[in-house]
Amino acid sequence: MRSWIDLTGQALDLEKVLDFIARPGEPSVGGVNCFLGITRGETSTTGSSLLALDYESYAEMATAHMHRLAEQAGQRWRILRLALLHRVGRVAVGEPSIVIAVATPHRAEAFDACRWLIDTLKAEVPIWKREVWADGPGDWVEGNPVKTQT
């Protein structure tokens, strides 16, 4: 498996991701699945518009954990190429904050691996986001408590 993992302050370059994931010369690839998470526009109860989300991370741990998720996915499914990129900093409404792309021999594995990666990332990786409204800073988005063995 060849993988590309990054936690970045730069806008995600989807063309580069597609070039990496669907590059010719991988004759075993039969399916590519791609998930994008995008900042969704919202209107508050007071009529204000959401402008963006500000993402913060525990960068060293988040990066290491993203590498671990890629390894675990590679053990569960036959993955030929995997891209897992997450933005930090301000992500405006309509822009992607995360891209996950998986190339596998058959489509079912690509769908399953992609779904598992986004669900597990949202449950485990130390990244947080806070709303930015037109009328000022908002709340931290209610997150998922991380389950650790007791």
Partner: protein, 82 residues
């Protein structure tokens, strides 16, 4: 022994700092560190801290995990990546 505590997102905001040092007795656990932190935190931060996970040297641990001098203990509020 002395450990570094890192705070993120809403925990950083509620406690007003991103990093602090804690002096703990030898044999202290991650849970001990969280208890010591709670004593320094505003009283209304208690429920938030109770919902946080803990990591030591960038690995999630249980509250029972024993700490060592120089460890980096991170307080991880409920995560919202993606």
């Amino acid at each position: 022994m002395r450990v570094t505590v890192k705070l993120f997102a809403i925990a950083r905001q509620r406690l007003g700092t991103s990093e602090l040092l804690l002096e703990l007795p030898s044999g202290a656990t991650a849970g001990t560190a969280l208890d010591a932190l709670s004593l320094q935190a505003p009283a209304d931060a208690g429920p938030l801290l109770a919902r946080c996970a803990l990591a030591v040297n960038r690995e999630y641990v249980s509250r029972q995990s024993v700490l060592h001098d120089g460890d980096e203990v991170a307080v991880i509020p409920p995560v919202s990546g993606g």
